[in-house]
């Protein structure tokens, strides 16, 4: 606690663990007059995967890097193969681009659905209240918002009975620790029942849909079909054992159509039904107002951002009248409040290419009550763009795409704003993040079938090349090389940088979405996106800080991704080649 806190009556709220996220996150916040007056975000786990990668074969870096995260399981694999391909100047065949788009697009849709129903919904939906619902009324609500077939009163009665069985048993399982009855839950019982039913439907759907990753990668989590230079998904129109053949195409199409149906009939209608009942949250949780998107999902040449579904660009200060270009040399990382040391002094932020990191824990000894937030307080670094903190993720992609005039994105956003009868400014909010994620899931679900059809057409026309062998043999490599790979992951802009020397990884670095969003303060004291978004948030009951969860969860935190180290030996990187 700070001196000022000790002298005043401010109370400190601690949420640790922040559950329903990936990884280990701690939030400390000051409460004064029922509102949050300051907040600190701390990542409390460190592994050092980039150190483990040093000296290994860059062709297999993706297998290791993929394990940075098992929730957004494919994103680090993609960024990794792209980084090595960039370093070794390998062009991947068009089929590999398409398969990667399908795999990562499917990841995005599935991840967003799981986030909404299983990681976020319980911040808005009171499970206990669902028991009081009239299933007949729930049925009529369901039928008024969606064409979904499972909408009869009997269906909802069955769900209610199942939940009642769990509650009556006195063993509430996953629901044992919820803030049920909290005054901030304001949905009518019938909508709560609808959402609980769809929580269960989504739980079943996510595992069925992600069979797509098993088809194209052998398993999920951690599909195993990437290669530096392409994919292992061999294509042949006449081979039963080919990974991609006409029978597999049909299965892929079926799965993609199912995803579109689920997003159209469950996810979008549920978001649009719940959002208007929480209108206060269209103006809360605004955050920084600075947005970054590397852009991704090419329809042709992955090196040409004009072919991207999600445009590359920057929007500063909520000014959607202009999109600024992304200049990679303006990216820096600060460790002023992170448990690392810089040789040139912790006050000076460094470009990732000159990064040096020595993990050094200097926080309180466990068990502890509070972090020393005036000093270092997180395993996350604080990335900055041109010295400014930035938000990344679905909202950043929708804001940048909207500002850039990308038609699909403008239409989707305008449609949602019309449905909510709200101006574009509501995007900069907790609910804005939720809506942006849903719209993005729909945009992506609409793309998937087209990509499978492209693949099918290539298969039918004998275009089956899936791998470029030109640089597979390390004997063909230069003595040293460096490169970077970027990807728009479900949670935002992801970059991997690799330096190769003597056929082995000399240095490896990942700068990931949640580091941008969840990072701590920098040397100037500028708050990160989470910290800023909590400012002025009202908290009705400090012992049950539901409101903090609402805004933090709206970012979809992924902390295992966010904690990384560049190089424990403190050696310098060469400057990565960037487009």
């Amino acid at each position: 606690m700070s001196e000022r806190e000790r002298k005043t009556n401010m109370s400190r709220i601690v949420v640790d663990p922040v559950s329903r996220i990936e990884g280990h996150l701690r939030i400390e916040a000051n409460l004064d007059g029922g509102k949050i007056t300051d907040a600190w975000s701390s990542g409390t786990m460190f592994r050092g995967i980039e150190m483990i990668l040093e000296g290994r074969d860059p062709r297999e870096a993706w297998i290791w890097a993929q394990r940075i995260c098992g929730v957004c399981t494919v994103v680090h694999a993609i960024a990794s193969v792209r980084a090595v391909e960039d370093a070794l100047q390998i062009e991947v065949p068009d089929n590999a681009r398409i398969v990667r788009n399908i795999i990562s697009g499917a990841q995005m849709v599935q991840d967003h659905v799981i986030h909404f129903y299983h990681l976020h919904a319980l911040d808005w939906v009171d499970v206990a209240s669902a028991l009081k619902a009239d299933p007949v009324k729930t049925s009529s609500i369901a039928q008024s918002i969606s064409d979904c077939e499972k909408s009869s009163a009997n269906y909802f009665r069955g769900i209610q009975k199942r939940v009642k069985g769990v509650v009556d048993s006195g063993q509430l399982s996953l629901f044992a620790s919820g803030y049920w009855g909290h005054p901030a839950y304001t949905l009518p019982p019938e909508v709560n029942l609808l959402a609980v039913a769809h929580y269960l439907e989504a739980l079943s759907w996510q595992k069925d849909f992600i069979r797509l990753h098993a088809v194209l990668g052998g398993k999920n989590p951690h599909p195993q079909s990437f290669l530096v230079g392409g994919m292992t998904t061999a294509m042949d129109p006449n081979e039963p054992a080919a990974v991609i053949n006409p029978e597999r195409i049909d299965l892929l199409l079926d799965l993609c159509r199912g995803a579109k149906k689920f997003v159209d009939e469950y996810y979008i209608p549920d978001v649009l039904a719940i959002a208007p009942m929480y209108k206060d949250w269209l103006t809360r949780g605004e955050g920084l107002g600075n947005f970054l998107s590397y852009g991704d999902y090419s329809s042709g040449n992955q090196n040409d951002p004009s072919t991207f579904l999600f445009p590359r660009g920057i929007v500063m200060g909520r000014d959607i009248s202009k999109v600024l270009p992304v200049d990679p040399s303006k990216i820096t990382e600060s460790v002023a409040h992170s448990w690392y040391e810089y040789e040139g002094g912790d006050a000076n932020p460094l470009h990732p290419s000159k990064g040096e990191t020595k993990p050094k824990y200097s926080g309180p000894k466990a068990p502890y009550e509070h972090l020393d937030v005036d000093a270092k307080y997180s395993w996350l670094k604080a990335p900055r763009y041109d010295g400014k903190p930035m938000e990344v993720g679905p909202l950043a992609r929708m804001v940048v795409g909207y500002a850039a005039g990308k038609k699909e994105i403008r239409d989707a956003v305008n449609g949602a704003l019309k449905a909510l009868n709200a101006p574009p400014s509501v995007l900069f909010s907790t609910l804005g993040r939720i809506a942006a994620r849903a719209l993005e899931a729909q945009l992506m679900a609409n793309q998937l079938e087209g990509w499978v059809n492209e693949l099918s057409s290539n298969l039918a026309h004998g275009k089956t090349t899936i791998f470029n062998p030109v640089r597979w043999d390390p004997g063909s490599w230069p003595s040293s090389a460096s490169g970077h790979g970027w990807h728009e992951a479900p949670r935002g802009s992801l970059g991997h940088w690799v330096e190769i020397e003597g056929k082995a990884i000399k240095n490896y670095q990942a700068v990931v979405p949640t580091t941008w969003n969840a990072g701590p303060r920098d040397a100037q004291g500028q708050r990160g996106a989470y910290e800023m978004s909590l400012m002025n948030t009202p908290v009705a009951d400090p012992n049950r800080p539901l409101e903090i969860l609402r805004t933090i969860h709206s970012f979809d935190p992924c902390i295992a991704c966010a904690v990384h180290v560049i190089d424990a030996q403190g050696r310098e990187y060469t400057i990565p080649r960037v487009a």
Binding site: S19, I21, T44, M45, V71, R162, V163, A214, K219, N220
Partner: protein, 363 residues
Amino acid sequence: MLENNLESALKSRGFSRRQLVKFCSATLATLALPERYLAQTVAAVSKVRKPVLVWLQFQDCTGCSESMLRSSHPEVADVVLDLLSWEYHEVIMAGAGAAANHVLDRVVKEEKGKYIVVVEGAIPTGADGMYCTIGGRTALDIANQVCSNAAATIAVGACAFDGGLVRAKPNPTGALGVHEAVPGLKVINMAGCPHNPANTAAVLVHYLTFHDVPDLDQYNRPLFAYGRVIHDQCERRAHFDAGRFVTEWGDEAHRKGWCLYKMGCKGPEATFNCPIVQWNDHTSWPIRAGHGCIGCASPRFWDHMSPFYDRLPSVPGFGVEASAGMLGVGMVGAAIAGVTVHGLIRTIKPIPYPADVRTGEEN
């Protein structure tokens, strides 16, 4: 009478008897147990008072949690709501912060000696354990308390098994698997990156039914899942025996599904039931997807099985007998260990790992 009680207990949970029997049958199939155990299994999993489970996450990627959510037989919702009272699991539980910590404290106190704990992720011992804290406590402290008071500890995934990727050299955080970080525990190791949820669900059901764990190998991994060499179960095995190999990614041999041995496949040195159970509702597995096996269920696989694209130095001979013999010592040892620990869950002592596995950091 029992039947009636069972029916009504099930009905009150909105769970049909047909669903229950189907799920138990599937589980018996995974465990390779005869159908005559069905009635016993059904009765055990439909107890009115459900056993409590807590799932701890330490130095993890949450991939093993996600893998559990992909469980198709039984359905994930049936596992977490009906089979067990799944009370603590950070990635999916309702409560956070103090409310979550309170649940864990309550379970440890009120269910002492009765609950099951699943651990995901490695446990750091460097920097006094400060590389992983939850609620201001170190992972090591939490694991010591929660695992020591449990009826059984199940380590899921490579990281909880033996430190996994986090423990790969140079092991920057001093990471260890659960059985090493908390010595003396009865740990059932569900190795793999990630674990296969069909296997873990089967172990849970087996435990609920027989109050015991399936036969284990020398690494405390269930034999039904880890007792066979992948190479011997592989759908591409006929191509190996016939000398038909993929020699370049995407070549004709690759399109035809020939053997991946020359592309670095570790199937001949690895055990797992991956080829049989497969993944994601039996949809596929890595070799089917055209990539070699990386031996992810093997001890210290990150250091011992890599480089993943280098061909194994020698897989002698062709034919089932020869390759099984090649693995001779390890597998025979596994079978014997399995027999000796059967039925002795409460007296299991940690089985010493081979020196090269245990000494970690330097190799």
